[in-house]
């Protein structure tokens, strides 16, 4: 394998072995603490334009399978791992991680001291980086000149509506760059789904006469999406049961008067206990967030805080006081990660049934 480099905008360079595609890419460098689920992670569109450092030291050991895609065309910019394991004995494995990354033109780099890198990013905060063949002054100039888009949702979300038919509840999913785990959970519950682009108006949604509306996960900052989408949410939540996840949750909070703050370091992992306030018990779920709802900004006459992260104290769930509309910051579809929060999809189903009376 060829020697390649991960370079960071602070001027540091890390030598490693290239794998996957030989492309030179730039992106925001973030780290993911999940022990399992690299396939779901690399295919999740929340990682659009990002280079992902995996804290789990052995990556590649279960190959790539049919069941764990979170998007059709992954748009992450690279994988940084300590040890690449290119032999998989998993019975579901269809191809190796290396082959998969070649297919999708995503570069990987292995043999990197990921613990050191993660410590550094925890202190320094977000940084741009590139995976390159030569770590010379030219490469750094290129990196420093790179301007990352803030139109991530436009890049990855569907521009056109499409159906995912079944015989059950009529659900509209607003796509901000959704992960397939969400559609999978709705399919398991036999929902007749229509996916709409995120620019859909409230009237577009209501014209489909849905039983429920789901605001999906997605990449980037909710503050870059304008206010039309917030108007849409306010109108829809007053009419139809609404469930929002990830970026959808952040927009739901904004639409109801709460404020958001950018976290000093993005958090991607599944090891934080999350308290479900109403029953005072704890669950674990996969989290991936660069923003958090400011607890003090929540208008208690409009929203109830329903889940809270017990490690960093961030708000993890909200519910509207007047309508069956609720949201969670964490990824309730559990792909990858603990499955215990999938219960929220049953809550959504029951909210739709209850409204029928």
């Amino acid at each position: 394998m060829a020697k390649r480099y991960l370079i960071l905008e602070d001027g540091s360079a890390y030598a490693g072995e290239g794998f996957g595609a030989g492309a030179t890419t730039s992106g925001e460098v973030i780290f993911n603490l999940n022990l399992l689920g690299y396939q779901e992670t690399i295919t999740d569109q929340i990682y659009h334009n990002q280079i992902i450092i995996f804290a789990q030291p052995a990556i590649g050991n279960v190959g790539i399978n049919h069941d764990s895609y979170e998007s059709i065309l992954p748009t992450a910019k690279g994988m940084v791992v300590r040890d690449l394991t290119n032999i998989s004995t998993n019975r579901l494995s269809r191809l190796s991680l290396d082959e998969f990354l070649r297919q999708h033109n995503i570069p990987g780099i292995s043999g990197i001291d990921t613990r050191h890198l993660i410590r550094k990013l925890r202190q320094a905060g977000p940084m741009k980086g590139s995976i390159v063949d030569v770590a010379d002054a030219h490469a750094f100039d290129q990196l420093n000149a790179t301007v990352l888009t803030n139109r991530q949702v436009d890049q990855v979300a569907t521009p056109k509506p499409y159906p995912n038919p079944d015989a059950g509840k009529n659900v509209v999913v607003i796509d901000f760059g959704l992960k397939h785990g969400i559609l999978r959970q709705l399919s398991e519950r036999r929902c007749n789904v229509t996916v709409l682009p995120w620019t859909a108006t409230a009237q577009d949604v209501l014209n489909l006469d849905p039983d429920g509306v789901l605001l999906s996960t997605g990449p980037g900052s909710p503050l870059d999406l304008g206010t039309d989408v917030l108007d849409m949410i306010r109108q829809v939540q007053a009419e139809i049961p609404l469930f929002a996840i990830g970026l959808g949750h952040e927009l739901f909070a904004l639409a109801n008067g709460a404020e958001l703050v950018a976290l000093p370091v993005e958090y991607h992992g599944s090891s934080h206990p999350i308290r479900r306030i109403i029953t005072n018990d704890v669950l674990y779920a996969t989290q991936g967030q660069g923003y958090a709802v400011v607890a003090k900004s929540i208008d208690r006459d409009r929203l109830i805080t329903t889940y809270v992260d017990l490690i960093d104290g961030t708000v993890q769930g909200l519910r509207h006081r007047d309508f069956p509309a609720f949201s969670v910051q964490f990824f309730a579809d559990g792909a990858p990660g603990p499955h215990e929060s999938r219960d929220l999809f049953d809550e959504f189903m029951e909210a739709m049934t209850a409204r029928e009376g």
Binding site: I277, I278, T279, N280, I304, T306, R319, R321, D322, F323, P324, F326, D343, D346, E347, E350, A351, A354
Partner: protein
Amino acid sequence: MPKVVVDAMAMQRALTRITYEIIERNKGVDDLVILGIKTRGVYLARRIANRLQQLENVTVPVGDLDVTPYRDDIDHDGPSDPEVTVENLDFSVAGQKVILVDDVLYTGRTIRAAMSAVMALGRPKSINLAVLVDRGHRELPIRADFVGKNIPSSQRERIKVSVSEIDDRDAVEILKA
């Protein structure tokens, strides 16, 4: 062979949803009192009150209503409607928003008796009904405001609700007669 139609997780979810619906409908928890109908309604009422306490940090008064021996698996041909008496009620219901809680809504006769018992104590601002299961077959014009699960049933079937406080688990089962 009993058939479990609501398992422990689903029962938790139902009570959670009912709690949120109570907040939605009443615009908060001011002036709310909860009355559980014995036996299992009492435990469900306490669970709802606990949830309200967790969410709103407000203690909602909970009282018990005792129903004279009444079983839904024997025919009521005679004029023997259930009688309801009030227990553990150290607060007034006058001017309050009363939430009645029962496990199964069936003929509606228990609820009618419960409403009479509440009315005898004072004039509540409103009475709402929350039930874990609505099995149909009403004999009176009564409906629930908050329903955990609608279970269309035959009158020959028996609906058995278990709560972990006094039974071995949380479940709703259908038993064939």
